[in-house]
Point group: C2
Chain length 334, copies 2
């Protein structure tokens, strides 16, 4: 093989929003896969809020990306050379392939995916970590039940847009909080959300109060900050907050805490954090269910695809934190 | 009857710490109990942090005390006149009898207690709301299990001092956070707590880190503020925070939120609020268990009893917020 691998490496840690100087573009020849290994040509790279956490040198659910290392990223790709019988050439796989064009793996960290069941990019979106996060968060932690009032923040994002639809499928009244009027229109017109609130322009407190006359049974939070505090203030008795993310906090240089947290006591409510990796043994069940809903037209999926090379990763990540994307943001190589 | 009832009424709502002007002492003749009613002579009045919340005009798990009303308080007393066969003269009862010397009731809001099983004052302490709160919080919400690391804040208080001992009975390693060295000595020397940390004088972060090498499985929080944030930072994977109270916040004029709350995500942990009234149907089971532990010498109970009249209530309440008490603070009338 004489292919050249273009890679994006983390070379300094950000304070606040990542700067271009955090990255270095490197090239190296692609090594020949050893016995038991495969070579993967990466086709789609996921761009997720959680990546910001991986750039910080702090103990977490996963070690930080080391300085000098290829940036960690869920991705999907095709096996183009194989010394592993389980993954013949032509197989499609997902895994943490990284922000690079080619990856070598012994297969132990890969999941083979079926390109006939769904477009391969969905395996890092609606059928990948974002979709699975929405599925287990809304069902297992939120325990969304018919008639419940469910609020999702970041509702037009990769996780949120699946979460609102799972709640609708579960028979809930669903309120989506999103960044602007176009996102809100998509939520109500295409995804069946009952009320959408554009938190940047609307009076969030008043709109949320109005939209939740029976208060909030499930609050699925991707945002944190004021949005979480407004949700806490509207919790129903025995309400469940699914803490999925806090995108408003990831680049914040002065940390913020939810001042209304004592609402958890007065409402005997809970706030529970979610890392989807805990549900790994149930991924097949969930992927099957999600794919079926997509086939049936009950789950609408939107991808915002940036086409280009890995040098686009930085700007794409920043656009995520600027809230520019609707649906799943990803980078398509080639 | 010609008895005169001395009562303490709430006449203005506090901002921050309650002031003496919030109260008015009133007197009125004790009415004759009507058919079905009893007259109770109040012997012991509970003084609890939660009372501060009842003074604020805000929707909560229980309506606020109305202006002009006798201050709400759990209390214990003896029936001294009865027109209710179920509660003959001489019966001992608990209930929200209020900060007054005599109460009239039809019995529907009273629980009869057994003065031979335990000293009557315990029915507003270790066998009353504080003990029941510790019991259900540590067992049902905290799910304290053998080998768990359990941290209790406000550990020398009415709830905390029972909570630490229930955790020890459950086979846990127990760390108590309390206000000062005397309280800490009581915790370790008398209650069997493994490590006690005086948060006002010790370096809480460093001491807590040192005391929790395996991090924290159950954090039973009565305090809030920095204490809760330090606990969040030390949570174990799948840790449980039992939110019982936030005494540092009740009189705070600028609200505070736990800035480390995203630790709930990275550790897939939960923070769950507790109001003991939800467990009412299981009170008898719990009271029996707690009383048995007391009989067996496994549960040590300390009361800090202020003797006097209801005019002492204000100062006693302030001493609670100053952190002066060890164990259960109460007012004994007579």
């Amino acid at each position: 093989m004489s292919a050249i691998n273009h890679q994006l490496r983390l070379v300094s840690r950000p304070t606040g929003l990542p700067e271009r100087s955090c990255w270095e573009l490197t090239t190296e020849p692609v090594p020949t896969p050893a016995n038991g290994e495969v070579m993967i040509e990466v086709s789609h790279i996921s761009v997720d809020p959680a990546m910001r956490g991986w750039m910080t040198d702090r103990p977490s659910y996963i070690p930080p990306v080391a300085l000098g290392e290829v940036m960690r990223a869920p991705a999907v790709g095709r096996v183009i050379a194989s010394n592993n019988q389980a993954l013949p050439t032509g197989s499609w796989v997902t895994g943490l392939l990284g922000v690079q064009e080619y990856a070598i793996s012994d297969g132990s960290d890969l999941v083979r995916v079926d390109p006939d069941r769904a477009p391969v990019s969905l395996y890092i979106g609606a059928l990948g970590i974002p979709g699975l996060t929405a599925y287990f968060g809304m069902r297992d932690i939120g325990r969304a039940a018919p008639g419940d009032t469910v609020v999702v923040s970041g509702a037009a994002g990769a996780v949120g847009s699946i979460a609102v639809q799972i709640a609708k499928i579960a028979g809930c009244r669903v309120i989506g909080v999103a960044g602007g009027p176009e996102k809100c229109a998509w939520l109500t017109e295409d995804l069946g959300v009952d009320v959408a609130i554009a938190y940047k322009s609307d009076d969030l407190g008043a709109r949320l109060r109005e939209a939740t006359p029976d208060r909030i049974d499930v609050f699925f939070d991707n945002v944190g900050g004021e949005v979480l505090d407004r949700g806490l203030a509207r919790l129903a008795v025995h309400g469940r907050i699914v803490l999925c993310g806090g995108i408003s906090q990831y680049n914040a240089t002065s940390p913020w805490g939810p001042v209304n947290y004592l609402s958890l006591i007065t409402n005997r409510a809970s706030m529970t954090g979610l890392i989807v990796f805990d549900y790994e043994d149930r991924y097949p069940e969930a992927i099957d269910k999600l794919a079926t809903w997509i086939d049936e037209g009950r789950l609408i999926v939107r991808e915002q695809i940036v086409k280009g090379g890995i040098e686009q990763f930085h700007d794409t990540l920043l656009s995520l934190f600027a809230g520019d994307n609707t649906g799943k943001l990803l980078l398509e190589l080639g």
